[in-house]
Structures are given as structure tokens and as C-alpha cells.
Amino acid sequence: MQVTRRQFFKVCAGGLGSSSLAMLGFSPNDALAEVRTFKLERANETRNTCPYCSVGCGILMYSLGDKAKNAKSSIIHIEGDPDHPVNRGTLCPKGAGLLDFVHSPNRLKFPEVREAGSKEWKRISWDDAFTRIAKLMKADRDKNFEAKNKDGATVNRWVTTGFLAASASSNESGYLTHKVVRSLGMLAFDNQARV
């Protein structure tokens, strides 16, 4: 910031009224210097792994509330885990900003549907969502499942519905996803290894 001459006048004029007392050498008692209180003193600490790149940095998540029944826990700060052998407490600009990922205004909160040709989202219940999705999948699978190929060989595949798996979901979720996808006979299955 460059203070121009005109701004400088304003700053001076604005500050003067409130400061005249101090200027005369009086200092209020409460002006004793004190550093800001350390905000993590009683925060709950949970260990996790940064979800971005594959360095797999250890992170410490600090949350508000001691997990008592009536307190809703919320993460207030994230920093690197100094015990982690790879990142040793450091984090890159993405990892250091994870707090705002957790609290992004664009986090999805409710199941929604956009009907064919519509211009908007409509909130629906989880049960409605699962039922409608399963019906669409079943209809497509029952219609297009290929038990045998043209030569009569057993192929048991369903290629008219595809699945793109995540790149940052856990092994546990990936393992379950794979089981489900193959049990349905899906082949149009890929993850983000390529892009």
C-alpha cells in the first residue's frame, strides 16, 4: 500500500481525536501488552492424511469442542504432523489451506436431482435418490446386459453404464466400489490415474 499525500491527511485527521489522551502521556491500564491467547489450548487433535497429492503428508486437525454429547465438533485449524517421516510437520500451500476445503461454501449438503430439461436442482431424500438411481441402473442393465457375445462365448458384461472412480477416496471405499461395479458386470470403469 502506498500512502499518498491526501490519504495521509485523512489518516492523521481521523486518528487524532481518539488519540489525544494518549498523546499527553496517559496510558490506560488495559493497554498492557499481551499476546493473543493460544487458540489450540484445549482443542481436540485428530491425525489424518492430506487428501491432495500422493506425498501423503500427515496432518493434525484441531477441532472445537471436546466431543461431549452436546457440543457439535467443528475443525478450526489444520497443520502438519511433525511425527510424519515424510513431511515432518511441513505442508504445501494446498495442505496448509485444507481448513477452507473442509468449510468450502461449495460443499454439497443434500442429495439433489436435476430433472431432464430442467434449469434447476431439486432437493430429494437419500432414499428417493437411491431408489431412482437403482431403478435406472436396473432398467439399463436388464435391457443391455450381454451374457454371450456374437460367437456364443460367455462374457457377462454390461457396458451401457459406466463408472468413474475417485482419486482420493480411501482404499476401503475403493475396494467396496470395485466389488459392486464388477458384480454388476461393468467394464466401462476407470479412475483418475490418467488425468
Binding site: M1, Q2, V3, R5, F8, F9, V11, C12, A13, G14, G15, L16, S18, S19, S20, A22, M23, L24, G25, F26, S27, D30, A31, L32, A33, E34, V35, R36, T37, F38, K39, E41, H77, I78, E79, G80, P82, N87, G89, T90, L91, C92, P93, G95, A96, G97, L99, D100
Partner: protein, 288 residues
């Protein structure tokens, strides 16, 4: 009350002496520019720890974002593409922010009691509850660091994470730095560390490598290792021999009582503009 771990060494606009019996360790942050990858993790960690969120700005044709220090950006990376040797491009990336001078010009210039304090460990901290928003700290700063917030007309800058240091932790920027370009510890240890780095850089062909700990401000508690210590201005206008203008001393002796009496405002404004214009000119020159 003041935390005993961070004893006050100096206090703005205060004539009573500070307690000086206890001796705490003098700390320093060392920024090794030769190791800096300009990732801005320090900027993010600083904002996150201090609960600040600056504006989502614009790209103005460079990597620097936010484009300058603000009341909500207490540290920024400044990127400079230079060719010290013909055809050998260097991308010198400097983390800018408060240098925590041993002889702080901001504190000297501040007219409001207790708005700026210096702890015995070397940290220079702003206490906004006492800040009157006059902006003299900006004028007094040889590095052009403090910024006045448009929101509350108070001055802000890096605290060296005094709240973390008070409980025995390192500053947020230091902890996060992925490459260890920022290190923190006792000032003596930091100087020792810097010596090792300078030796390494010299062995890699940077014959003018050196430590930046300018004595004109009594030395600083934020120091740099520079590949080209002979030309600090290459690093986005880092001043070569920063010092507090003699005018600040004059202000403390003469101008302050004048102002307190409510006269000579215009004179003073011109007076400070003059001080301010000095370093600005130097900056413009070195940026070329």
C-alpha cells in the same frame, strides 16, 4: 497481563522504563532464498493461523498474489526474474514481511502508548486495541511493511506468531515451509545455520552469497540468506542499507509535542511525506 515468557523490552510512546530483569532468548527467523520454491505455503499458513482471509484479487500479469502486503496479508512472495550472468536465468523469490528490527522504526514513530511493543525475545508486535490508525509506523518502517486496514483503520503486520512462540512453538510460516527455506530458532543458531548455507552456495558458484542482517536497524530478527548479498535490490527491491530516518528521531524530540498541542499538522504531513518519499525513490530505482 503480559505473558512472562514474552517480556516487554520497549513500548511505543511510553516514557516509563520497561522491566528488564529477566532475560529471554533472542529468536530469529532465517529465510534462505536459495531454497525457496515460492510455493506460498507460508502465505497460506499465515492467513490460516491468524484467521485472516484477504480479497480474492486479480492476476495482474505476474505470479505475485496478493499483489502486495495488506492488513490481511502479512507476508507475500515477491518474484523477480533476473540474469546476473548473461543467459543464466535466476528466479529470485523473496518472502516479504516484517523484519522485526532490533531497532524498530515503527515503534519509534508510533505516537500511541502500547500500540507497538518489542518483546525481549526480539519480536515487534502491534497491539491493535491501542492503535489509533495514524500510519506513522508505515513511515517509520524502512521496509514498507505495516498496512492500515480499511475495515477498522488499524495497522497490521506479521506478529512472528507471538502467540505460538509464547507457548513454545515455531511461527506458522516456519513450520509449514516444505523445503526448509524458512528456519527458526535462537538468533545465534540462525546465524550459524546461515554460515553453513553461505558456504554451500559459494561452493555452487554463488561467490557473493551472504547473510542479510542489516546493522542500520540494529540487525533484524528476520534474516535472509541471499545468493547475491552484494545486490539485495535484485530481490524485488530489498534495501541495501536500511536505516531509520533521522527524521523519526527528530519527530520523537520535537514534532510530537507540537502535534499534541494540535498545531503544525500540515507541516508534519509534509515532513512525513518527505521521509516516506525517500525509500520510495530508492525502491523505484532498484526495481528497474
Amino acid at each position: 497481563m503480559a505473558l512472562q515468557s514474552l517480556d516487554i523490552k520497549a513500548r511505543s510512546a511510553t516514557t516509563t522504563p520497561s522491566p528488564s530483569v529477566r532475560e529471554t532468548m533472542e529468536v530469529a527467523k532465517l529465510i534462505d532464498i536459495s531454497k525457496c520454491i515460492g510455493c506460498k505455503a507460508c502465505q497460506v499458513a499465515c492467513m490460516e493461523w491468524n484467521d485472516l482471509r484477504d480479497e480474492v484479487g486479480n492476476n495482474v500479469g505476474v505470479y505475485d498474489n496478493p499483489a502486495d502486503l495488506t492488513a490481511k496479508s502479512w507476508t507475500v512472495m515477491r518474484y523477480a526474474e533476473v540474469e546476473v550472468e548473461q543467459n543464466k536465468l535466476e528466479w529470485l523469490i523473496r518472502k516479504d514481511g516484517c523484519m522485526h528490527c532490533a531497532d524498530p522504526g515503527c515503534l519509534k514513530a508510533c505516537p500511541s502508548p502500547g500500540a507497538i511493543v518489542q518483546y525481549s525475545n526480539g519480536i515487534v508486535d502491534f497491539h491493535q486495541e491501542n492503535c489509533i490508525g495514524c500510519g506513522y509506523c508505515i513511515t517509520g518502517c524502512p521496509f514498507n511493511v505495516p498496512r492500515i486496514s480499511k475495515q477498522d483503520s488499524k495497522a497490521y503486520k506479521c506478529t512472528l506468531c507471538s502467540d505460538r512462540i509464547a507457548v513454545g512453538l515455531e511461527p506458522a510460516c516456519v513450520k509449514t515451509c516444505p523445503t526448509g527455506a524458512i528456519v527458526f530458532g535462537a538468533k545465534g543458531d540462525m546465524i550459524h545455520h546461515a554460515e553453513g548455507r553461505v558456504t554451500d552456495l559459494k561452493s555452487r558458484g554463488y561467490t557473493n552469497a551472504g547473510l542479510y542482517d542489516p546493522q542500520g536497524v540494529g540487525g533484524t530478527h528476520v534474516m535472509y540468506v541471499l545468493q547475491h548479498a552484494d545486490q539485495p535490490s535484485l530481490y524485488s527491491g530489498l534495501p541495501k542499507d536500511p536505516s531509520i530516518s533521522a527524521m523519526v528521531g527528530l519527530w520523537k524530540g520535537v514534532a510530537k509535542p507540537l502535534l499534541s498541542l494540535g498545531i503544525g499538522l500540515t507541516v508534519l504531513a509534509g515532513f512525513f511525506h518527505y521521509i516516506k518519499a525517500g525509500p520510495n525513490e530508492v525502491e523505484e530505482e532498484t526495481e528497474k
